[in-house]
Symmetry: C2
Subunit: 185 residues, 2 copies
């Protein structure tokens, strides 16, 4: 994030504002994400363990990381580090222009730039789009126990968890752009 | 739904099963949707009032229904009837081949077949994809009071509401197919 070599995002600030309105994302959600950041920050690796367990347990999800030599550990490890960074950036909730540009880059790394970033040979050319949307649910649901462990009460827990769901939906929306037919995003 | 003229869906039963696994959708969710159907069924028009209020209150969402003569009431009314049917079909949770084919048709009606079905002239050519994903959140969240009004307790309420979220994510995933670059879905 912040690399000046990244191309401009497809969306400008006004577009993002409209998208946030459509998701019902408010300043209260931004505050809730930052509260969640304090709670989840020290446990991001455990969260990644859960997600990688889920991916590893489903061959059709693991398939994106499989080369003719089997699942690429190096590729999985490099993606994992970026996934952890995405969690931290999302919980920081600084949805500025650098962040928008980086979300566009994450999208490209699932689509036409998959494998390139990590110099991977022989893995599938793209992550099938259906799973980007489908995984909204487990990425949302599996966050709850981590929030629960640090929440002061049920109300704060629910507020943080709903904000997280909105933020995941927002991210997946932005990542979808390179998959979409020209002009239809 | 069930029109034999509809083309085959992009996904077969095995694809759907994998997608359901990625969303963590289980038989318990199917049962929960059917419980929700009993509760929400008599109130679908009120639910549509809420959603149409939301769309009508945001010019960038209403824009999909706007022609040079302003928002098309006839178009809004015809889409509304299909939207109500989608709620009923989703809560019935018969995710069979007819249903898959009809979800593919709903996707086309947001994309390349938008306006055609209803003979609309001068409205935008497609619904921007970003809002299909973004609207997962309000479509999920605004269901809760309707479920709450008929739920026997908090546990059933939560079970039905989570199943609804999964079903909305599933629908939007299927609707996205015609928007996606060839072979990347």
């Amino acid at each position: 994030m912040g690399d000046p070599a990244l191309p401009a995002a497809a969306l400008d600030g006004g577009d993002l504002d409209r998208l946030l309105q459509s998701i019902l994302f408010t300043d209260e959600d931004r505050a809730a994400l930052r509260e969640a950041s304090t709670i989840v920050g020290p446990h991001v690796e455990e969260l990644l363990d859960v997600w990688y367990g889920f991916v590893g347990g489903h061959d059709f999800l693991l398939a994106s990381f499989v080369t003719p030599d089997g699942p690429s550990k190096e590729y999985l490890t490099r993606v994992r580090a970026r996934f952890a960074q995405w969690v931290r950036d999302t919980l920081a909730a600084d949805f500025d222009d650098d962040w928008l540009r980086y979300q566009a880059e994450i999208g490209r790394r699932h689509a036409e730039a998959k494998n390139l970033t990590d110099g991977v040979q022989g893995a599938p050319a793209v992550v099938p789009f259906r799973y980007l949307v489908g995984l909204i649910y487990p990425i949302y649901a599996t966050m709850r126990p981590f929030l629960e462990a640090g929440a002061t009460d049920e109300v704060q827990l629910e507020r943080m968890h709903q904000a997280w769901l909105k933020a995941v939906i927002l991210s997946v929306t932005l990542w979808s752009e390179p998959y979409i037919q020209h002009g239809w995003f």
